[in-house]
């Protein structure tokens, strides 16, 4: 089966031999599928990266470094990004106003300022709770290699792997030890889940210093933009004008009030004219007939499912 899918999507199959374990003394083979990375939105590094799918759940960067070293020799592998890392990286921590403004007004940042921000953001990260991350089974990763040539040579090396004895062994040649799984891993998790109130306090404090500053900046920017026409001569309308905008819940309330008023007006005019009463009665009768038909259908359906009308013995 793994051989069949090799050519179809341009994927090559990389078989990996999994050594037996005391609890499961079986020699297994894991298949990773890989191809040149070609994402929908191209980036600069696409030519020298590989797209891997169905990676083992316990993969780490060290594992892949060892794996590629085994295949094509040292020095070709640079880094690897796992599917899950990417997703969490996307989430924005910007205050809402800053985000809104950013759509219209690109702010240039100085290099040293940016570095400073990155540092602060790193300090605002919460500590990890797992000593080693697990990946979803069947998930993917993108490996970044030294150059385009390395990609070719890896793909070539993969093609050559035909004899099961030559398959690279998973976890072989790991240079720096990776944390172990099992009871220890769970115990470590239990410990890491409680980093201590002080540590978290510090993190949160840093976070909000940054957040407050950003908010302040956005506020200032908004103030400035209010008075500044852009190149077409338009002045952007921003929040915080002379009269403060209505709060969301107030607006909600007002809307509800209006709806209530309308409803009340409607209710007053009901059952007033004779034709209304007549129509109402008619509707009720129709409803009854509809219900009867519905029941009939239901019973019919019940009869079709066998045994519904047979008393249990």
């Amino acid at each position: 089966m793994p051989e069949n899918s090799t050519s179809s999507d341009g994927f090559s199959t990389l078989p990996i031999s999994i050594p037996p374990l005391p609890s499961y003394p079986v020699h297994a083979t894991h298949y990773i599928y890989l191809r040149r990375n070609a994402p929908r939105i191209a980036t600069a590094d696409d030519s020298r990266s590989l797209y891997l799918s169905n990676i083992p759940t316990d993969s780490t960067e060290a594992h892949f470094r060892a794996l590629f070293t085994n295949l094509v020799g040292a020095g070709r592998f640079e880094s690897i990004t796992f599917e899950q890392d990417k997703r969490s990286a996307k989430i924005s921590h910007e205050p809402a106003q800053a985000e809104r403004l950013a759509k219209h007004h690109k702010k240039r940042k100085r290099e040293d300022e940016e570095l400073q921000y990155r540092k602060e953001e790193a300090a605002a990260e919460l500590p990890e709770t797992w000593s080693r991350e697990l990946h979803r089974s069947g998930s993917s990763a993108v490996a970044l290699l030294a150059d385009e040539k390395s990609v070719d040579s890896i793909l070539k090396a993969v093609k050559k792997l035909t004899k099961p004895k030559k398959y690279p062994v998973w976890g072989e040649g790991l240079k720096d030890g990776v944390p172990v799984f099992g009871a220890q891993w769970l115990m470590a998790h239990n410990k890491l889940s409680y980093p201590g109130n002080d540590v978290v306090q510090a993190v949160v404090d840093t976070y909000f210093t940054v957040f407050n500053r950003k908010e302040e900046e956005a506020h200032q920017l908004a103030k400035r933009l209010r008075n500044e026409p852009d190149e077409d001569g338009f002045v952007m309308v921003t929040r915080g004008g002379r009269s403060a905008p209505a709060r969301r819940d107030e607006a909600e309330e007002a809307r509800q009030k209006m709806l209530d008023k309308q409803q009340k007006k409607k209710d007053e005019m009901q059952n007033f004219y004779r034709f209304q009463l007549r129509e109402k009665r008619k509707a009720e009768q129709l409803e009854l007939v509809k219900k009867f038909d519905e029941d009939k259908r239901k019973v019919q359906a019940m009869r079709e499912r066998r045994g519904r009308f047979r008393p249990e013995m």
Binding site: L21, S23, Y24, V26, A28, T29, H30, Y31, P56, T57, D58, Q84, R87, S88, I91, S92, H93, E94, P95, A96, Q97, E99, L126, T129, W130, L134, V180, F181, G182, A183, W185, L186, M187, H189, L192, S193, P195, N197, V200, Q201, V204, F208, F211, R247, D249, L288, V289, K291, F292, D295, K296, K298, V299, M302, R308, F309, R310, P311, E312, M313
Partner: protein, 1020 residues
């Protein structure tokens, strides 16, 4: 809509069948009633029997019987002792004399003469037999000529001796003529005075012995012909056979005393002998005047049958015949001024409902009911046991019914009436389809009593013809009823069924028999430690009380100064109501009926023992609640929080009497997670407008609370824990608050702002699809924790106090799910809802009153639930309107339309606080749901089949046979990990499609030293 005008309606009402008009005008209101009518019509179609197919050649056999009996020559008269001595021997046919056997020196003679007429009667002729009957009896009456009897024959069993000989003579003749039939004797309706002859086709009976059930399901059914000799119509003087007169003189030596004791059973039996024909006429006449009478009889028959009622005294003595007669009488009379209660123009389902209503409201078990012309002396009919006196025929038609079954009948009728009147749910199934006659589903406590062989004679003096075992049971019932009082809601006694015996003379062995008493307790009243009697000053009552209880009765003074008689059972109260009831029963049966402990065998506690439920658990649940309110007060008292606290809602199962183990203080040591709670603040504009930042703000708030709590109160420790979150937008942290002297709590913060932002995101069409689905998932988890769970907690907690048996039932059900390894698929709240539903919709049973009934009823419900078609709507306070219910059904239909294979949505459970129906059942694979149903089904089947013999432990034993992969965890390694993070213990094979070995190797690597061994089933 012309046909709906009132005029048309009047004209239409003679029309039979389900006409729309009659539906609309029915008293039950529009909703559900028309469905009910349609369903009953379907039922009637389904159960009706095709007579020619079911009874091949029976008409011919009956005709031959008739000819054979009519062709018999006159015999006798011969003296009775000669008949029993010589006739029996020469013909090798037993004469089925009732007990006591005729004395040797009796002067009267027995004989046979040509019967005046022979007729086929009963449900065969009225065509009211149904397919689901267990056996089909075709009744043939043979009316004995009046010349056989003399005037005084109503006395001293004389009639019955003569009748026995008459029957034996017919038997002898038929046996010779029809060698292809099997003949046996049995007692008519378990009445020992009335032996009857049974003829069965031979080939069939031998087949049924070998293949058993298969035969009864086949087309040819298990029928029998019963030959019932009876007296000429109206032969016996009713005046001499009233309930107060005595007809048995020869018992005992002291004749003058005996003659005062009335023998109502004997008298009624005798009267009934001469009324066969008149009842036949009555039923025939009624079915001619009332078109739907027969159908209503079939409905009644099905209803009774599903509840285990039958004409036989072992089945309660209220069978199809009694139902039909009652209905026929109610079509003539029954009202306050003698006007008919039922109208012949009603539809069958309406006749059925009205009769049920009559049974529910007439209180047959309490007062005597007279139907027909007014009686001058109602005392004449008064007797113990239920009385339904047919004044026109001067007989109590329920003379063979036992007191307890009258109670049961009344209870069932009441339950069914409430079920019919419930507009929300279609109760058709509970009325006719569900088998209600399952003692384990009904009763909480069982006692198996061995009947002492000499019970009848020694203890109860004169017998009036009842079978001794029934008389004994009647006695037990009265004693227990009095002793248990309000502790027992219902007491039922199952007496052994009478067996048929051979027609050839042989000694009938009397083996020790046992009766089964089932008791439904009232948990609240039954756990009362002290029994209070009458005031000391009421000398007469007090003396009675003392006489009943014997030495253990004592005086008790209330604080108010009143002194009452009482009995103390407090020493048994640690065992709960079960222990108390058991002690009472043991004591009273020993002191009043001389039954030793060896004769009694108690059942019913086994279920609670499985997870060692004890009455003391209630106290520890109370302690948690108290601890929580202290905690809540502590948090509310904190002054320096930036926002004001709106609510701290507990969401842990410990806080709603529903955790599997009863909570103990300082749980952290044992690796149990603290009690969960959600803190929500008053709405505020201070929350940042960014979901990820809100999560951080929550942490800041938690830290603030932690800081202030530790500062303000001594003996509190706090730990901020990080959630195992995948994204920054999820809830990131919780706060563990540990009271050194008590319980610990885990607090999470809820933010309104987060909910609004997420809601906006899910609805924002400009965002990417994956962003919206992600937001929807987050929103549902936020709502689950902060909106649904607090309300759920409140609901379950309320109903646990309302139904005392709910809490133990929930815990037992959770244990069941866990022991079948379904616990990590079904979240605890869902299981709680299942059990709650079994309590809220108990029909056709009463509300469960013990852990075992609550648990078994839950399984029964799960076993038969049709998840594809029916949404489970749990609406404890009836707060959902009809339209909301309809919306829920529509939503289910929509789900089923999108996903017909039920790959994503399997179970659909809606509550007033979650009308979407899927909040409780997310991520529940179909395989798991199917396994639950299959397990519940087999458990319910075992409960039904084995009855009282069931060992409850077997329900909790789960085989590993069905799993393809089994992972054994190392107990040692687990112990070293403080908290188990839900490492799966077994994996369904369906998830592996590609490379099982590699996946297993992965699991093995991750598990590391935790996993001892992975077993893989071969062959797949």
């Amino acid at each position: 809509m012309e046909s709906n005008s009132p005029k048309r309606r009047k004209l239409d009402h003679t029309h039979t069948g389900p006409i729309f008009e009659s539906v609309a005008s029915s008293s039950m209101g529009a909703s559900g009633s028309s469905a009910f009518v349609l369903e009953t019509d379907e039922l009637l179609k389904e159960v009706k029997l095709d007579y020619s197919k079911a009874f091949p050649g029976i008409d011919q056999t009956l005709r031959q019987f008739k000819e054979a009996i009519e062709g018999l020559e006159q015999y006798g008269p011969v003296p009775i002792d000669e008949a029993s001595a010589t006739w029996e021997k020469t013909n090798r046919t037993a004469i089925p004399y009732p007990d006591p056997k005729p004395a040797k020196n009796c002067p009267y003679k027995v004989s046979f003469e040509k019967p005046t007429h022979i007729n086929v009667v009963g449900s065969y002729t009225s065509q009211t037999m149904v397919k689901s009957q267990s056996n089909f009896a075709v009744d043939m009456i043979v009316v004995m000529p009046a010349t056989l009897f003399s005037e005084k024959d109503y006395r001293d069993y004389r009639y019955f001796y003569k009748r026995a000989f008459f029957l034996a003579y017919i038997t002898d003749a038929l046996r010779r003529k029809f060698s292809d039939l099997d003949f046996t004797y049995t007692n008519f309706n378990g009445n020992a005075l009335l032996p009857v002859l049974i003829a069965r086709p031979q080939a069939q009976s031998s087949k049924t012995q070998t293949t058993g059930k298969r035969e009864s399901q086949g087309k040819q059914i298990n029928y029998e012909i019963r030959i019932l000799p009876n007296a000429p119509e109206g032969y016996f003087p009713a005046a001499k056979l009233s309930a107060t007169s005595n007809s048995i003189r020869r018992n005992g030596s002291d004749e003058s005393k005996d003659s005062k004791i009335p023998t109502p059973f004997y008298n009624s039996t005798l009267k009934s002998e001469s009324q066969f024909v008149s009842y036949l006429k009555l039923l025939h006449r009624t079915s001619n005047t009332c078109a739907s009478f027969k159908d209503a009889c079939i409905l009644g028959r099905t209803w009774l049958q599903q509840r285990g009622f039958g004409g036989d005294v072992a089945d309660g003595g209220f069978g199809h015949f009694h139902w039909a007669v009652l209905m026929a009488l109610l079509l003539q009379t029954g009202g306050r001024k003698g006007e008919p209660i039922l109208s012949p123009s009603l539809h069958a389902s309406q006749l059925f409902k009205a009769t049920l209503q009559y049974l529910a409201s007439s209180n047959l078990h309490k007062k005597l009911v007279v139907l027909g012309p007014k009686m001058t002396t109602p005392d004449v009919v008064r007797q113990t046991g239920p009385v339904l006196y047919d004044a026109a025929r001067e007989i109590n038609i329920l003379f063979n019914m036992t007191t307890w079954s009258a109670f049961m009948l009344n209870e069932h009728a009441k339950l069914s009436i409430t079920a019919i009147n419930d507009p929300q749910v279609d109760q058709f199934d509970s009325l006719f389809i569900t088998k209600v006659n399952q003692p384990l589903q009904m009763f909480d406590l069982f006692i198996n009593i061995n009947v002492p062989s000499n019970a009848a004679q020694t203890l109860f003096g004169v017998s009036d013809g009842r079978s001794p075992i029934v008389a004994f049971a009647e006695n037990i019932y009265r004693t227990l009823k009095k002793a248990l009082g309000e502790r027992a809601k219902l007491i039922n006694i199952q007496v052994p069924k009478p067996t048929a015996w051979k027609v050839t003379p042989s000694s009938r062995k009397s083996k020790t028999e046992s009766i089964l008493v089932g008791i439904m307790c009232d948990p609240a009243k039954a756990s009362q430690g002290r029994e209070f009697g009458p005031l000391y000053e009421q000398k007469k009552d007090a003396a009675k009380f003392r006489e009943f209880w014997g030495d253990i009765s004592e005086l008790w003074q209330f604080p108010s100064g009143e002194i009452v008689e009482s009995v103390n059972w407090n020493e048994h109260s640690p065992l709960g109501y079960f222990g108390i009831c058991q002690a009472i029963i043991r004591y009273i049966l020993k002191s009043r009926l001389k039954l030793t402990d060896d004769d009694l065998e108690f059942h019913g506690q086994e279920f609670s023992n499985i997870i060692s439920l004890s009455p003391a658990d209630k106290v520890s649940f109370g302690a948690v609640k108290a601890a929580f309110s202290v905690f809540e007060k502590d948090v509310r008292e904190l002054g320096d929080l930036p926002l004001s606290v709106r609510q701290i809602a507990p969401i842990g199962p410990e806080m709603r009497y529903a955790s599997l183990r009863s909570p103990t203080p300082n749980q952290r040591k044992q690796g149990v997670t603290p009690i969960n709670a959600v803190l929500s603040f008053e709405a505020s504009g201070k929350w940042p407008e960014n979901i990820a930042s809100i999560q951080r703000a929550k942490i800041a708030l938690l830290l603030q609370i932690a800081h202030s709590l530790e500062e303000a109160k001594g003996g509190i420790k706090t730990h901020l824990g990080l959630e195992d979150a995948e994204r920054e937008t999820e809830n990131l942290a919780f706060l563990d608050i540990i009271y050194e002297s008590g319980f610990s709590f885990r607090l999470r913060v809820h933010s309104d702002q987060e909910e609004t932002l997420l809601d906006r995101q899910t609805k924002d069409q400009t965002l990417d699809r994956h962003v919206r689905t992600e937001a929807a998932a987050l929103l549902s988890s936020v709502r689950w924790r902060s909106a649904i769970l607090p309300l759920h907690n409140q609901t379950i907690s309320t109903y646990c106090t309302r139904f005392p048996a709910l809490s133990p039932s929930i815990r037992l059900a959770k244990h069941w799910f866990n022991s079948h390894r379904l616990g990590n698929h079904f979240n605890e709240p869902l299981i709680e809802l299942f059990v709650l539903q079994a309590f809220l919709q108990p029909h056709p049973f009463p509300i469960p009153s013990s852990a075992s009934t609550g648990f078994l009823r839950t399984l029964l419900m799960l076993a038969s639930y049709d998840w594809r078609e029916e949404p489970m709507i749990i609406d404890p306070s009836d707060s959902l309107s009809a339209t909301e219910r309809l919306d829920i059904s529509t939503r289910l239909e929509a789900w089923r339309k999108i996903d017909a294979n039920m790959n994503r949505t399997t179970l659909f459970v809606a509550t007033p606080f979650d009308v979407t129906g899927i909040a409780y059942t997310q991520n529940l694979p179909k395989v798991v749901a199917m396994r639950m149903t299959a397990l519940a089904r087999s458990a319910s089947k075992a409960t039904k089949d084995k009855g009282i013999e069931l060992d409850p432990r077997t329900l909790f034993q789960s085989g590993l046979r069905d799993y393809d992969v089994i992972i054994y965890l190392s107990a040692k390694a687990i112990k070293s990990v403080l908290r188990d993070d839900g490492t799966p213990t077994d994996v369904d094979a369906d998830t592996f499609e590609v490379n099982r070995e590699a996946v297993l190797a992965e699991i093995a690597r991750i598990g590391g030293d935790l996993i001892e061994k992975i077993d893989v089933k071969d062959g797949r």
